[in-house]
Assembly symmetry: C2
Homo-oligomer: 135 residues x 2
């Protein structure tokens, strides 16, 4: 039950952007430096976050990244799903996956993973960046 470095770094970086919300674009290198993350790796993380509409980029000199929405409108679940795909303790109960595995409906254990998936989703969707920065 681990989230990957992408997810963890993504949440950390987004938290940094939330702290600097309204301070103008922050360069990726600056965020990487503060958080002790390779900026090359962070680049890979910001690309999908931008495509998902969670951050906005400003190109060129004096450019950088800004949250696309207010911190209280960005849920941790949004970040995690963008970087790690649908929340699913096991593949066969992935969010948004309508079809079930061949073992279903006989599968007695399916209910465990569905309940776990839903609980994890609820927790991550209940926390916004605003919550995180207000400690």
């Amino acid at each position: 039950m681990k989230i990957t470095a992408k997810g963890e770094y993504g949440v950390r970086a987004m938290t940094t952007l939330a702290l600097e919300y309204r301070a103008g674009p922050i360069p990726l290198r600056e965020i990487a430096r503060r958080e002790g993350i390779s900026h090359r790796f962070l680049e890979q993380i910001f690309l999908p976050l931008r495509r998902a509409g969670l951050i906005t980029s400003v190109r060129g000199a004096k450019g950088g990244y800004v949250l696309a929405k207010a911190p209280d409108e960005i849920k941790i679940g949004d970040i995690v799903r963008t970087l790690e795909g649908p929340i699913a303790p096991v593949e066969c109960v992935a969010e948004g996956n309508e079809e079930s595995c061949k073992r279903s409906p006989a599968c007695l254990t399916r209910g465990i993973w569905e309940r776990l998936r839903d609980t994890v989703s609820e927790v991550l969707d209940d926390i916004t960046l605003a919550d995180v920065i207000t400690n």
Copy 2:
């Protein structure tokens, strides 16, 4: 946020044992066949489960495995922890890990992972094998 095949297979196999509780020892091959799992792989899974005191083995012909306790005394959390180690969405908040990472207590995101860890723990410890087999 995935659990591994070991954890998934382990829970499935333990559920099978729960269904056959009081039916005498069930051979591992039989469980593997029913669940469509390689019996060689399942062997690897049963070893730690036995060492953790969740199942009991009977050696020799007519041998097999039995739950060491009644189904309502075995929590899914017990199985998952045995096979996958302490529950922890990120390493620095692993269950039973008293020391924090060097970023703490400044780390704003730590609370997210602690809350997630506790929630996952609660869900998995709230479900017993008895719950699973009574659908």
